[in-house]
Symmetry: C2
Subunit: 626 residues, 2 copies
Amino acid sequence: MSHHRVPDPGRRKIGSSTPGSQGSDLAADRAPYDGTPPDGDRLEPLGRQETKASYTYTGLRGWRRWRALRPGRGMYHDVMRRLPYYWSDISDAWTYRTVASTIRMYFVNLLPAIAYTLDMYRRTGEFFGINEALFSSALAAMVFSVLGAQPLTIVGVTGLISLFNFTIYDIISIYDVSIYPQFMAWTGIWAAIFHWLVAILNGCDYMRYVTDFSSESFGMYVGIIYLIKGVEELVNEFDEYGSTAGFLACMIAMLYFASVYAVEKLGSGKIWKAGFRGMLADYSYVVQFCTVFWVGFSHIPGRLKSTHISRVPVTKAFLPTQPRSWLIDFWNLDVKWIFVAMPFGFLVMLLFYYDHNVSSITAQARQFPLKKPGGFHWDFFLLGCTTFVAGILGLPLPNGLVPQAPVHTDSLTVYKTGLRIIPTAEGEGTEIRRPVVRAEAVVEQRVTHFLMGLALIGTMTGPLLVVLHTMPAAVFAGVFFVVGWGSIESNGILQKFIYLQAEERFIQWDEPLLQVRKRKIWLYIAIQFSAVAACVAISHTLAAIGFPVLITLLIPFRILVIPRWFALHELQVLDDFTATNKIVLASLGGKPALPEHSTEEEWGLERRRSERRFGVPRQRAGSIHR
Amino acid sequence: MSHHRVPDPGRRKIGSSTPGSQGSDLAADRAPYDGTPPDGDRLEPLGRQETKASYTYTGLRGWRRWRALRPGRGMYHDVMRRLPYYWSDISDAWTYRTVASTIRMYFVNLLPAIAYTLDMYRRTGEFFGINEALFSSALAAMVFSVLGAQPLTIVGVTGLISLFNFTIYDIISIYDVSIYPQFMAWTGIWAAIFHWLVAILNGCDYMRYVTDFSSESFGMYVGIIYLIKGVEELVNEFDEYGSTAGFLACMIAMLYFASVYAVEKLGSGKIWKAGFRGMLADYSYVVQFCTVFWVGFSHIPGRLKSTHISRVPVTKAFLPTQPRSWLIDFWNLDVKWIFVAMPFGFLVMLLFYYDHNVSSITAQARQFPLKKPGGFHWDFFLLGCTTFVAGILGLPLPNGLVPQAPVHTDSLTVYKTGLRIIPTAEGEGTEIRRPVVRAEAVVEQRVTHFLMGLALIGTMTGPLLVVLHTMPAAVFAGVFFVVGWGSIESNGILQKFIYLQAEERFIQWDEPLLQVRKRKIWLYIAIQFSAVAACVAISHTLAAIGFPVLITLLIPFRILVIPRWFALHELQVLDDFTATNKIVLASLGGKPALPEHSTEEEWGLERRRSERRFGVPRQRAGSIHR
């Protein structure tokens, strides 16, 4: 396989956006993305050759191979690559999937955002409240659904930005807490500037070097932080409302977690028809079932109702939580502080660089049969814009949602549960009848993201804020547990750890991990776990804002140090490139040209084997991988 | 296969109790029981022909075939059959299994007994307390371990006798609550008399007609009642100690259940070595882990400790809970009331007839490779004796513990986890590596039962009562959930219901249930469930004491009515005789001679297939079957 693609007019296939190819017959008539825009002839004037050519630096010579010397090249290619699909992004949306996805994503986006905000609200002197979080989510949703190169990547308020915001609050309050709004605005402005620089100088290309080594560590870190946040939420309940409310809150959080988990298990089992199971998967976490039930539960008259537990604090519709205008008077900040804000802005950019791009990559993972290309440079530029606006309006900065982005793609995927019959040697007529889930097609469009944004704006109105206020904080502790545990349960670190505990004779003969000595696997997950532990540890100090540095350092560490300790064939089993989908690599400048990198099929043996056997797993609410 | 066995001196095999066949080499040198006493020659004077002959009425003519006309015949054979093994019952006990089993059974017996007693204590005007329950359990353990024909059958205080006692209390308190002790004593005396009559007139023989149809219904009923009891325990916490204690109690009960369940799942998984997994199974519910942990948890200083939740109420060591002497003055009861007590005594006998014998049958289920015979008639006679003593001492009447008796046998079974490799047609070198659990041998002895009884007596002393008092009632609500759910989860009714939900194409080709039309399966479990629902319903009224009638009516219903609605081949899949082990049938007069009954192998196809494939499941704490 060659690492770059040369223009080849003869290889063009007819794309998907021809009229009539809508809805259920999505699967058949679309060829995978191969650099050819749909209806290529019409688009010729827009630079067909340029777009068709995979954006790459491989094989270039002289100054042309220096990314920094070719500003805007990545962004230009991103736009050219995606623009031809813009109309189909709207016309393809007329399916039931869009409805299910919009409803699911509204909850999957909103509930964690509120959960993080409860935490942030308390710990930033009530500066960032529900209205700010809703505004920020809605802003991001509108911008990225309309202008994003990859509208599948859901953008919103994450737990890490909440961690960032209150750590900066802690730092600022050592000096002068009154400048916090302006300081945050400048942090946002600086972050925006760094975003734009990175996007223009084609910096996103380096994301293709990200492997599961670091993204598993990141996922584990996020999961642990969320579990801790859930516990903190419950502790707060005890502190603020006393023991009775505290124990009730613990009970609700545990039952919420258990019920969401149980419904998700049912949705991935073998009982009931595949269609009904799919509905459970669509609406489980979605909480049409669980959230509504447990919110209602907390209002049952009697002991439950009379135990006053904390509920979501809301203020007036469309107004900031604090008595201020939306625009922060960022010009009223001492010049000294403006420059102090610069490194903070850089750290925010570093966090978003990793977090947003990884969420975008996972939203376009290889398991999803995507046909339309994405664009990392352009989206990162856009993220700079939303960062700027959110910064000067005093909103929590939105970025790509790591656990939720792949859920969006999942919610748009048409799955088909096939049946694989494998005769066995156990006896006359015995066989394994195994369900194999195949992802048939993805309804790639920008309407769901847009509708979700509209729904978020609707949530900012008075009546719906009242509804939000009925929700007990305990449910959000449960949300933390769901999202956090989802990120940990399916994590490669834990999976390898469980493998190491297994009794050897029961391990399947063709298990790829058997090719690696056990102590090597131990070493591998021990390094990952040390990184996680270090991140978790500093997250509870003022140095918390430094954790993006630690995470991004794992990328060069993996490229430069790890190969000295592990043989190539070991890494091929243990690790995998996070960005493996062709449409992703097209925007990132092609496959990474590592010395040890040969063909794609030789990596991620573990996952490939599982997918070959059992098909594609559905994306759980909280899990990053698999 | 013939339905009866004629004496055949030539078929004798050398038994197991020859000196030297102790401990680990149990499995190899012992032939299954076939009616031959060990070391047959020495025992000849004791009636070798009689003993060797399977006790049966089949083939007899004239007055000899009437059971009632041959009083004591069953008991005589029981004693003759078991007596030769008495010495080996002690000498075989010198293995580690005995230690593990004693500790496990102590907890498995004690914790539910206390749980039921908490309930009974409140609802019988504090007449039956912890001391009575301990005394009753210890009495039963000493009597049955020393004198029982089948010392594997654990006898103690059940939840159903608690239901009985407080329902009678409710009835009596309508008239004159002061006669409750004497009335209960007379109920016990009458019950004892009926026990003796049934035992002497060989009534236990009819237990061989019991099929899973009724015993599954019984198991489901018991499970539901226990779950309800658990909830009632928590409700009581709210009523007596307020909301804070209530919510904390809910939390502890839920976490207790979750942790016991999780440890049990780990114990039956594939990780860690088989030996360590076995240890988890030995000590999980046993609660060395979980109970101790959650009891400790409730004492953590701070909010947990300061929330006063209810704990086990204890009184002075060795004294009755009420200020009375142990012996009830049963002679001070109006003659009128003595005769009123008679039907109550009969109902107790009916309950014990079903409950005790089924628990004995499950303790000797076919899955356990037992070598020593049991004796139903003799044990039922003994049960009459303990009923009499417990009655006049004002103790809750002990009988066979349905969920716990098979746990005892399980804890004494030497399991070996084998590996079955089944090549599959999936590709080069692919295969299934499946753990298959085989029960190699059972350490059949009476020492564990005896030691457990001693431990129970020890628990009646002052210092250990203080330890008991540290245990929160919430943990016992958790015990109810564990035992109750264990009885429901593995129940055939639920399993068939889940089968009916399954998507058809994933059902294995050789699944026996496929031979039965779905609506027939629906009908079958609907009948079972109606019986369960009826029992549960009357359990909450004064008619609760009538439920043994309902349960025992299921036996003739199954024999007389069910065959009209179901074809023979359908029943062979859906149903199975509960007593299938040869050593059991030897005491019950041989296989039941139903018109549709042909050979043993044609029944219980469902279970046979599962055991052939996956081996024998370990007995969970609460489950009756599988």
